[in-house]
Symmetry: C2
Subunit: 126 residues, 2 copies
DNA sequence: AGAACCTTGACACGCCTCTGGTAAGGTTGC
DNA sequence: GCAACCTTACCAGAGGCGTGTCAAGGTTCT
């Protein structure tokens, strides 16, 4: 393997700061999947090494876990999922369009009512 | 509270399929945060109920967890995080720009070499 | 005033994530 | 051929997630 710039798992571990154990784990999460030699050895090229280093930085900087980046990957690959999640968030700023308009206005109205009650009760409680 | 269409936690639980316990949990994850009455009771309006129902569907349909949607929310709110994650993914299709071009070409070349070796060895193994 | 709600906080349990090992066996370099 | 690597497959332990339940105490309805 010498002379080639593809690193074995232990070498890659040393230069990226991951443990060999974790490199296998990262592979299973599909975030960094190295090539394999003919006999099945993992071969980490410059691109993988770089990705591993930046991944590490990413995780540390934002205190996120592999599974979370894994989920981001899943959203990026699964269009249905991505769209469903986005759609759910879009409905966030109150007044989601699925809600009947009349219901909504009654709700808004009564919110003010409630607030009013609140104020009143604060001066003359129960 | 009667006459108002804001539901208490147990009522909301019944119409949405969540347990009261889980509604508190969902609130803690910041995904659906109900208003509060003056005395601190949670008040679920039509919008919240709808959001709870669709959230449930989302989780079931894609077999994701609350924490994962919570992470999506975090990405949506934290621009730095979102951009960092996206940037990491952008570098995915091999040949990340941080890698030295000469390194890259040598790597690509040797990849073909490796593949060639593989084929040869498959016909005359060992 | 009492029943029937609500609140927060805690303990608990099963499952998953992350991380480290270890064992049994194949590959490579010298 | 032997040392030093690699592989997969397990066991294990700390910590987080999802969920229930219970306790101690406040609120609301009648």
């Amino acid at each position: 393997m010498a002379g080639n710039d593809a690193l074995t798992i232990h070498e890659a571990a040393e230069t990226t700061g991951w443990s060999p154990r974790m490199l296998r784990y990262v592979e299973r999460s599909e975030l960094v999947v190295p090539e394999r030699s003919q006999s099945g050895y993992r071969l980490y090229g410059p691109a993988e090494l770089q990705r591993l280093r930046t991944l590490r930085e990413l995780l540390e900087r934002f205190e996120v876990g592999l599974s979370e980046i894994g989920f981001a990957l899943r959203m990026r690959r699964d269009t249905d999922l991505r769209e469903a999640v986005e759609e759910w968030f879009e409905a966030e700023p109150r007044r989601p369009e699925h809600v009947d308009a009349a219901d909504w206005m009654r709700w808004e109205q009564e919110k003010h009512q409630r607030l009013l009650n609140t104020q009143l009760m604060e001066t003359s409680p129960r």
